[in-house]
Symmetry: C2
Subunit: 650 residues, 2 copies
């Protein structure tokens, strides 16, 4: 299954256009200034650890120093370069959506800077160039050199697509050629993979963009060599010590970076969540082209392990700050978890690639869950503050006094010392029309309801109208060559009615028009408020429910309900939800309210008493999860306790 | 209020006698062998950290090396000596309960060893003697030298009481004299306190034992000087560096060791839980003698903060592994908490001292809660394995796969690299008749129902008969001088009936016989199974209940119920508890069973679905919390989810 050129799709959808506008007008200029250290913002470490970089970005300055334009020392993480690459990628996608000559000038300057920083042989990584040139490609356990190269490649593809300018693509291909010289099966080459995956998926995209098979082969090589020799990283570390190149002796944790076995033999999501999902995305992309059955089987198993056992209801993933990692099956703590924004972005990517690989619509269920909730919650509604960690329950006092929650920030920081998430958010939003339509042979897939227009050369035009997911109606209009058209019906739709003069078939997951040259179809449906239960094996959600309407998971916030939101009790057998528009927070938001109970505070000072719970009545108001944390510090929770004894109502 | 000589009280109570017998026959000999490295046991670090001491104890060998009897290097924590002192203290108390000439010979050998290791001037601490003699009393931020001295003093008092032998008391007093030379308000003396409190309470006990006021004054000094100069520890560290004595630069966290202010000004339980409670015990003890109002007020506030806001239903305290510390009010995670055995032991101590200070019986509520539950759970029923951390919820898979629970062991280890808890358990059990009776002026207090006999010189004899808390009856018999007798009625007793020819008064908390020379009283009562709710501000216990019968908190274990105990649902409005004897686990244990529900597993592989919970019927069996973890690894939980929708029963 193939994506369409981003130029071919125009997004008119109010909801998504507003996000793209925010990123274009606020986030991209803001991020450029932050990367330039031109704004006085609070750059926080991602967790409480005095040894982590914080205070400034320095990402562009690192390139200026590497290019010998400025004096100074490298500052920040060894993967700081990737912040710049992801910013370029965001800017490029925004240029596809809306011309901006001034922005092109800014990007071109940055591209010139990268060219100046790149070494003669194509090597480009400011950390190693400036701090330890003798260790280039020799500290793969943590170096992130190929991770950065992957982001450079993605930026280059985007900028070429946006402007037709080739300089960045040349820089990226030159960098990849340098990598190809050093890595491979030939004598003297490195038979190992980067600690942080990313290059794999980027190389497949480069193959798709350039049609050069060497890039696909290199991606496949990195997925084959990973975990092949379990001693690879330990030997690399030992050799550096023996040769006097380094004294660093990190503890090698092969699970952490998914090198405990070859990827094709892996069946569970383990270790660092973003690494896991970038790798899986790369595996699915390689399998799309090579039809590799072993990789496909591994991908299917890993995805199921996540979707059925390790994913939060918001689409967040990663249960622990220790290694920012997946934990065990059905173990989903709501207040100490990690749920990194990047991990949800990666889950969207992986799910999309799995859909493209298999044409199985279950993957879109997870894509939408993550996209509308845990991805969007990563940024504030002014586009200038960002969460790294996306919790499902926040009690500010607990976050401040319990060091187990040192990583759970109650407010989005202006920027992060480890700033992977903010530009990742920007590039996904800027390019999200990518997900709306795909095709496979003579079949056209509509994957997301979103007001938009896809014009494919002189073959066809398809349009969607409507204000989904706020209105309960979508209109589809198609004219062009005869082809099969498959519409994904989101799982939460009920009472779906189709009005069309054309013939259609309806399956549980789709609406199918067979070999048609014209469609005019009105699809109406209901999107009732759903009360979701978690699987009974999830310990943390016992006797609680989550509220969903359309693709949005809802949450209670102190700003709407006052302090003590954990005392909310939802009366399961007799609850009526009222859905009302709220334009204050974000254009077109649906707020949900219900008449429930409030557990009464005790009059005695005591912790444990043999008494029943007493309730008073209270109307509770909920907002979509992605909008939480935009009104100052306060309590928030997604899982709502049920009432347990109605006769105790006072 | 004063304690009675331990010789005067004979404990006949079946429950406690069995524990004292276990400690005497199993734990004390076992611990001696472990301290001697004479057993091949698994000595584990207390949490997952490769840098922590583990593998062996080496505690006695450190003394042999310090005494120049053996060659070698110090091994283990800088407070390893205290393991030996607490072992001596346990052994001494057991000798009071039961003569054992062979044990005296062993202890005497250890005392000889301590004498040989002690330096001429009285200094005694093997870590500093062997590794950094130039830094004696100069690293108070972490040295634990006075902490160890405190335990030496407590051991010496116990051994003198038990045997009348003075050598250990002489060693201890010589050590304290050395401390008095170095610490104080005179020019050249150190005006600071040990990072880990303990010396304060020990010095008051030494004053009570010897009648030498200098010891009480020194205790008061340490409580006055603590937190007086907030720069004390930082300056000490800086001076060591300036003088080239050390390169160590620990981050000074004054909250962690309760030195952010003078103890008399503190009002909340903060920082390391054991330090907090040892300090508070010392404060209460000093206040008993000095009538210091400021110290008393601080103690009352700190105790309330714990009992009303920071204590688990098991009497466990300390919500986080980070700093083994208290966290915020009403924040009581059940599965990542610390709840160190030593902290519950210290809470028993502190509560007892508060009772002695104030004669307020509320302190005995907490004393019994901690004693019967989180203290006893610290040891296995064979007396040879020990928990450091006492969780309220264990899912073994989660403990193994979630590094946030790296400190939560699912099975009691044989021993711990940081072995503070095992001998602390032993010394508390061996001496627990201490708590049963106290007196103040002409009033005799009965604080615990426990079959026992107290004979006070030629003044009086009082006896308790009965098999409390298993039987619902206690008989009291008194004859002697005319005095007021006050019996504490545990909070959970119901329908209390008193049969006596003597006149009594009953208050909410007590039964009082005024100025009587003779009592023959039979007290009958009910101890129904209680369903406890946590304060609604405790987020972690929403929609769950804890089960208590008598002093015991109950738990569900996999061994009795199979896997999936989190699927238990207690039907709150119509539950019948069946209480039956179970002799298999521990002599006279009451098991509780009830007909409840089991949340049905889903047939679909999914995490979140808009469906109601379905229940099947199931009989659930619970055991007292203190006996959990004695039948192999398995699931355990204290807080039981309620059923929320009865009409869903299938």
């Amino acid at each position: 299954m193939k994506e369409f050129d981003l130029h071919a799709v125009t997004l008119n959808d109010t909801f998504w256009q507003n996000y793209q506008k925010l990123v274009k007008e606020e986030t991209i200029p803001y991020q450029y200034q932050v990367l330039n250290d031109a704004l006085d913002v609070d750059v926080q470490a991602e967790r409480e650890d005095a040894s982590l970089p914080a205070g400034k970005s320095h990402a562009l300055e690192n390139f200026r120093i590497a290019a010998k334009q400025n004096d100074g020392e490298h500052f920040g993480w060894f993967f700081q370069d990737s912040d710049v690459y992801k910013w370029i990628e965001s800017a490029a996608y925004s240029l596809i959506n809306q011309k901006d000559e001034a922005l092109i000038i800014v990007v071109d300057e940055v591209v010139e800077l990268l060219a100046a920083a790149q070494e003669e042989d194509g090597y480009l990584n400011t950390f190693f160039q400036l701090t330890r040139p003798e260790l280039k490609y020799r500290q793969l356990y943590f170096s992130h050199e190929l991770y950065c190269a992957g982001h450079l490649v993605e930026a280059a593809i985007a900028y070429d697509l946006a402007t037709g300018k080739k300089q960045l693509l040349e820089i990226a291909e030159k960098n990849v050629q340098n990598i190809m010289q050093h890595f491979g099966r030939e004598a003297g080459q490195i038979q190992g993979a980067d600690g942080h995956q990313e290059i794999e998926l980027a190389l497949v995209r480069l193959f798709e963009h350039t049609d050069k098979e060497i890039y696909l082969d290199l991606a496949a090589f990195f997925l084959e060599v990973r975990g092949e020799d379990p001693h690879f990283y330990a030997q690399e570390i030992a050799e550096n010590i023996t040769q006097g190149l380094s004294t660093e002796q990190p503890t090698v944790d092969l699970m952490y970076l998914q090198a405990y076995d070859q990827p094709k033999h892996q069946r569970e999501a383990k270790g660092h969540a973003v690494r896991m999902l970038y790798m899986a995305s790369g595996m699915a992309k390689v399998a799309q082209h090579t039809k590799d059955q072993a990789l496909t089987e591994a991908c299917v198993a890993i995805w199921k392990d996540i979707a059925h056992k390790k994913m939060y209801v918001t689409g967040g993933v990663g249960g622990t700050v220790h290694g920012e990692a997946f934990i065990g099956a059905y173990d989903l703590p709501n207040d100490t978890m990690y749920c990194e924004t990047c991990a949800s972005i990666a889950l969207v990517q992986f799910s999309f690639e799995m859909f493209k690989l298999t044409q199985d619509h279950q993957y879109l269920d997870v894509l939408t869950r993550a996209l509308y909730n845990s991805v969007l919650s990563g940024a504030s509604i002014d586009g200038k503050q960002f969460f790294y960690v996306n919790p499902l329950e926040v009690m500010p006092d607990s976050c401040h006094h319990n060091p187990d929650k040192g990583h759970v920030k109650t407010q989005r920081p202006d920027w992060l010392g480890c700033a992977c998430c903010p530009p990742n958010f920007a590039r996904m939003i800027s390019s999200l029309q990518r997900f709306v339509y795909t095709r496979e042979g003579d079949t056209l897939f509509i994957n997301l309801f979103a007001a938009s227009r896809l014009t494919c050369a002189e073959q066809f035009t398809i349009q969607q109208f409507g204000n989904f997911p706020f209105d309960d109606q979508v209109t589809i209009s198609y004219s062009g060559i005869a082809q099969k058209i498959v519409l994904y019906k989101p799982k939460w739709l009920e009472s779906v009615q189709i009005e069309s003069e054309q013939v259609w078939q309806e399956t549980r997951e789709t609406i199918i028009f067979e070999a048609t040259t014209k469609i005019q179809a009105k699809i109406t449906f209901q999107q009732p408020v759903q009360i979701l239960r978690a699987n009974p094996l999830v310990n943390q959600d016992i006797n609680q429910v989550a509220i969903q309407r359309g693709p949005f998971i809802y949450c209670l916030e102190e700003a709407d309900n006052g302090k003590g939101i954990s005392q909310c009790r939802l009366p399961i057998d007799q609850v009526n939800f009222r859905v009302t528009e709220n334009q204050k927070l974000w254009s077109t938001t649906l707020e949900i309210s219900f008449d429930g109970y409030q557990s009464q505070r005790w009059t005695q000072e005591a912790l444990y008493l043999p008494m029943k719970e007493e309730y008073s009545s209270k109307n509770w108001r909920m907002i979509p999860y992605h909008l939480w944390g935009n009104r100052g510090e306060g309590e928030m929770r997604v899982w709502i306790p049920l009432s347990t004894s109605f006769n105790q109502k006072i």
